[in-house]
Amino acid sequence: MASAALTGASRAARDARDERVDEDDVQALVLQGYGKLRAAAFLVLELGGTAQAWLTSLVGQVTAGGGRPDGTALNVAFTASGLAELGLPPGVIAGFSIEFQEGMTSPHRRRLLGDEGAAAPENWAWGGGGAASDGPPVDALLMLYASDEARLAALVAEQRKAATAAGVRVLITLDTHDIGFGEHFGFRDGLSQPALLGTGRPVGDTPERDRLAPGEFLLGYLNEHGQHQRTPLVDPAADPDRLLAEDASGSGRRDFGRNGSYTVVRTLSQDVSAFWGFMDGATRGADDTSDQAAMTALAAHMVGRWPSGAALTLAPDKDLPELAEVNDFAYHAEDGHGLGCPIGAHVRRANPRDSLPPKPGEAGSIAVNKRHRLLRRGRPYGAPIDVDTALAQAGTAGSAVAGEDRRGLHFIALCADIARQFEFITHTWALNPHFAGLCDDADPILGGHQPNGKTFTTQATPVRHRVHDVPPFVTVRGGAYFFMPGMRALRYLATPHRR
């Protein structure tokens, strides 16, 4: 009977494969990460009653399509309150997913995402003032990219000025810091990205398991279930100029969601001193001296990759930088018991590849895995710190002061179903102390603010090793669920006569 499911899934995938993405209608960030635009800043906005004028002049500046912009790029996304502020009627907003309408900070969603204790939204620098408190609502995110800091500074100044002039308030500017292709703990990041099918970009040597139907990231297309995602629809009478596309599922209404993508943003503060301080303390020899190699190895086992990016499944014993970009591997056959990359390692949880039910190592498990992927577009912030300096600060007042936020990652993920993709990965895989047969292990990198799961297990022969009481290394300091509309939807939003 399982074959019935597989037949359905492969048929769905085949149908989805035939679709072409209307790239010119897609904001460019969905199609590319702007790797050459090394400088970036994100303005968190509260819209006012005159925001439509601001949006009208902004639309022409938004970067769309698959072409590589040179110099600068600009993208924009809105929360549910922002769309309401721009006049999108409640009946249309009701077509967005429940979790988007509810926001990231409801009691339920903060439990799903592990935002408790010091990571609770009350302590956030932005986005925490949702329905629960009196803080200003986050309405929009203006994402600015430039080839260098000088151009970025000019772009930010120009956009701040335009926003302020239109009565749009900048709640906070999220700066970024170019630290190359890594993150602040010292590991290469962003290596495993799914490839969106149906675009002009060749998927070339992307492994089959990483090629995904466009409907996994864009509304209006078939997803890996062979279905169209729930999407906000507009009555034809409310779109007399036919600015919006027809609903692809044939309702006769117009699709506001088409070519748009949910945009999950989380400001993740990284405590580099706590990270390396813990690795040091847990690996000291009998004479209480530091063991640099053992420290790095423990950290690499928690991450699932060595600092160079080499996967532990391929390089179980030591870092092999020549394997840094080798990403075509699976876990079940090569590393089924976690003797290379531990079962509970961060990257193995975030993307278990072929290793989970129903058919580990086979197509059935890969098909399920495809339904839980994200396009990651995050950018680090804060000046980097090297391991020795971080260690020197560990245990001193410089480490883990509540509210202090020196460096981290503005995590940005695009998807078409926040509940099935981002929240599922976070709750069912990353933070779940029972992930894949573990007993009390949450994600060693992300799970620090949970009440349970502070053990980290390294599978070994004849028997596993464990470290206990893994402290928080990462603390959420802000976040919201946004929607990044397609260009037609943006023009629709910016057109005043609609009201």
Partner: protein, 430 residues
């Protein structure tokens, strides 16, 4: 040792007492294990318990009203056999509490003694049509004991430091065996757990054989009946109008806000059957098949490959006229999103056969195709018919069902011969 039983106490609420009853259960729900009314944690054989106040009109306007819109108080207990001992324990431990709770119900005696309470409870016992147990025969004391055993073994291995570094798996296992054998509090783990009572096993075996036997004897009739049924099924699958289930964000938020506090969650849904005799008959047949498979097929830690459900049951609910509603309750690990994804990704056809007769279920094809493969339609169906669980209690809230299985395997592996490879596999449970 014993098998598990599904106890259900169901009593109509006196309309003028409904508000008070809700208030009382809200207070109880703040501390299900040791609240002053029914301290479920003091019951020695209860794995899970829940209290529902099912208000026909309150949560789902499509439901048939029960009597004159009367609400029903439902208390379910998943316990080790014999269930009658748990009922007696309830009376012995929580007599005044029973008065307080069931005093809101019609027919509860005014000043009952222990006998009066017992008689009332026994008169309100209802049966479940389908009762699924994750691992039949694994009792509460066994589950708790095996969790302690694992904790002890893990601590022992942690304490060994590098002592095992160059040992074989067999040597490590021997060290664990002698550690357990030397500890008076753990030595029980070297013996296999007792099987359920012989009478139970004989009864189940007879049922397991008798049902197919009867079907074989009636084969011509069965084949004919199936043919007629398949034709009717296809006709209904084509013709039935399936309304879209629209989710109310405020209700979804209310339901969500009571989920995901521990690894386990509780789920309750109440959905009317599709209209017409065909679906009524199909539902009855489906419940019979569900009963058979739950009792004889899915008894060892897997619901057709799904390993996250602790207990689940179906009960028909509502008046005895026309098609009734089905009350479904379960305790599962992880979020509702992951529970639903498992259904859609792994056991869609099973869900089609058990939920496919309910209103709003996405269209099926030959019953086992489509249906739950329609991710959006299925998730909307599940969430749309979900009702709040007013109170629920779990005896081991931090243990996932897969962990229970692993703990049992860990214990079983302490005895008997093993090859080096088997010992390696066994040590991977730690």
């Amino acid at each position: 040792m014993s098998h598990q039983e599904a106890l259900t106490l169901s009593a109509p609420v006196r309309p003028e007492r409904l508000g008070d009853l809700r208030a009382l259960v809200r207070v109880m729900a703040k501390d299900p294990a040791s609240n002053a009314v029914l301290p479920f944690g003091e019951l020695s054989a209860v794995h899970f318990a829940r209290i529902l106040i099912v208000d026909g009109a309150g949560h789902d306007a499509t439901l048939p009203a029960d009597g004159a819109g009367q609400a029903t108080l439902v208390v379910t207990l998943d316990c080790d056999a014999p269930g009658r001992a748990t009922v007696r324990e309830l009376v012995a431990r929580a007599g005044p509490g029973l008065d307080e709770l069931f005093g809101h119900c019609a027919g509860y005696p005014d000043h009952p003694g222990a006998d009066g309470r017992l008689a009332f409870l026994q008169s309100r016992l209802a049966s479940s049509n389908v009762f699924y147990v994750h691992a039949v025969g694994r009792t509460l004391p066994q589950i708790r004991g095996e969790a302690r055993l694992r904790a002890a073994l893990e601590t022992f291995v942690d304490g060994a430091g590098r002592r095992f570094e160059h040992a074989s798996a067999t040597q490590v296992r021997e060290a664990l065996q002698s550690y357990v054998g030397a500890d008076a509090g753990l030595a029980w783990a070297l013996r296999a757990p007792a099987k359920p009572a012989l009478t139970f096993r004989i009864r189940e075996l007879l049922h397991k054989i008798a049902v197919p036997l009867v079907l074989v004897l009636l084969l011509p009739l069965v084949v004919l009946g199936l043919l007629v049924w398949v034709i009717a099924l296809r006709r209904h699958e084509h013709a039935d109008v399936i309304p879209d289930v629209e989710l109310n964000p405020a209700r979804m938020r209310e339901l969500g806000d009571s989920e995901d506090f521990t690894v386990q969650n509780s789920f309750t849904s109440l959905a009317p059957l599709k209209e017409g005799r065909f679906w009524g008959i199909t539902s009855r047949a489906s419940l019979l098949i569900g009963d058979y498979t739950a009792r004889h097929v899915f008894t060892r830690g897997s619901l057709s490959g799904l390993t996250t459900v602790h207990f689940a049951r179906f009960m028909t609910f509502g008046p005895d006229v026309g098609n009734r509603a089905l009350l479904f309750t379960s305790y599962y690990d992880g979020s509702l999103e992951s529970y639903n994804n498992d259904f859609v990704d792994q056991v869609a056809w099973v869900l089609n056969t058990v939920f496919g007769q309910q209103q709003g279920y996405p269209r099926t094809r030959w019953l086992i195709n489509d249906g739950a493969h329609n991710e959006r339609g299925f998730k909307n169906f599940i969430r749309g018919h979900q009702i709040p669980t007013d109170l629920w209690y779990a005896a081991y809230p931090d243990l996932a069902a897969v962990t229970l299985d692993q703990n049992a395997t860990l214990r079983a592996g302490l005895s008997g011969p093993m090859t080096e490879e088997e010992a390696q596999a066994w040590l991977r449970l730690l």
